[in-house]
């Protein structure tokens, strides 16, 4: 009995060591730059943002309440967005509803980008000063929000959407939304 307790006491450091190993090992494969959005599970915040093609026209949260969709944050100063753009064209062609949000960008360059590279977005918002981005907790581009038909944010993806991550994880998240 006393021996058994002794062995258990001696095992405590080993258990602590293994726990530390587990967390440190997990840390090797998580990207600290990828932050989870606090807006998941919440409504898209109230906003008023001009349309990129017609700066007089403005959009609000009503555009998120018709169907499930992706809200893609992009900018011409972002090289990853360039790589992502072709794949977004493909997704749009497959019938996925995407709203674009041009983030802290030059208007002329943005329009040229959309004309030259094709426009996958059903609606394009123009967030010149980045304040809609701030309300959404955007901290870089590209970022994509998965928003259901009631206007609730279900997921936020940081970084580009490509064939690989779309097939492996993101399409499932999209399909599971109502």
């Amino acid at each position: 009995m006393a021996d058994k307790r002794r062995i258990l006491t001696l095992l405590i450091p080993l258990i602590i060591f293994l726990m530390a190993c587990f967390f440190l090992f997990k840390g090797l494969y998580t990207d600290p730059r990828k932050l989870e959005s606090v807006l998941v599970g919440q409504d898209v915040p109230e906003f008023n943002s001009p349309d990129i093609y017609d700066l007089e026209k403005s959009h609000g949260t009503e555009i998120f309440k018709k169907q499930k969709l992706l809200l893609n944050v992009w900018a011409t100063w972002c090289p990853t967005c360039y790589a992502e753009h072709q794949y977004l064209n493909q997704l749009a062609a497959e019938g996925i509803y995407i709203i674009g949000m041009n983030y802290k960008d030059n208007h002329t360059k943005a329009i040229k980008w959309l004309t030259d590279l094709k426009d996958p977005y059903k609606i394009s918002l123009f967030d010149k000063d980045g304040m809609l981005g701030l309300d959404l907790g955007v901290y870089g581009a590209p970022e994509t929000f998965f928003i259901d038909s009631t206007g609730v944010i279900q997921y936020r993806h940081v970084g580009d959407i490509n064939a690989h991550n779309w097939k492996n994880e993101l399409s499932a998240i999209y399909e599971n939304m109502e």
């Binding site: 600290p32 932050l35 807006l39 802290k104 000063d129 980045g130 701030l134 959404l136 870089g140």
Partner: protein, 170 residues
């Protein structure tokens, strides 16, 4: 002779030239980092603003606060902080505003939540465990001392008795 002179000349000019270039470039690169000027209604608001920009962490350039960082996002956050402070919001209100958008990540002073509770209670648990362990250890050694006494005191007694009896004989 002339070649030696040349070598000498060259070795001296290179550092001088480098220094000259360094001093020429450095003010330019300093000027490149833009210095924003914010004007405040009163000194108290200014203090709140400086406190906040030191306390809030930039989500983009992760180990800098928004006062140190030159990232575009940090600039936006500074502007927003200024705007909120100027409109009379308190320190906590501004922090809540940022946390609502970027999560507890933006705080350098994280609150106690289920995810961080171990960080707060962990050290306390370790100390309590250590005290308990030391207590057990000293208790056990006390027990060992007394059991040693029982066995040995008997022997000691025997020896002493023998000694005294032999002393009496002599």
């Amino acid at each position: 002779m002339s070649t030696y002179k040349n070598r000498c000349f060259n070795t001296i000019t290179l550092p001088v030239l480098l220094f000259a270039i360094f001093y020429l470039i450095s003010p330019v690169s300093n000027a490149a980092g833009s210095i924003e000027s914010f004007e405040f209604d009163n000194a108290q608001k200014e203090d709140v603003f400086h406190d906040l920009t030191k306390q809030l962490r930039c989500p983009k350039c992760q180990n800098q606060n928004i006062s140190d960082s030159n990232a575009e996002l940090a600039k936006d956050m500074r502007n927003k902080t200024y705007e909120l402070v100027q409109s009379g919001q308190s320190k906590d209100q501004v922090i809540d505003y940022m946390v609502a958008r970027y999560g507890n990540f933006v705080r350098y002073d994280p609150p106690m939540t289920p995810a961080t509770i171990f960080l707060w209670l962990g050290p306390l648990l370790f100390i309590m465990f250590g005290v308990w362990f030391l207590f057990r250890l000293s208790k056990r050694s006390n027990e060992q001392d007394s059991s040693f006494d029982e066995l040995e005191s008997q022997r000691l007694k025997d020896i002493l008795e023998k000694e005294t009896s032999s002393n009496k004989e002599s």
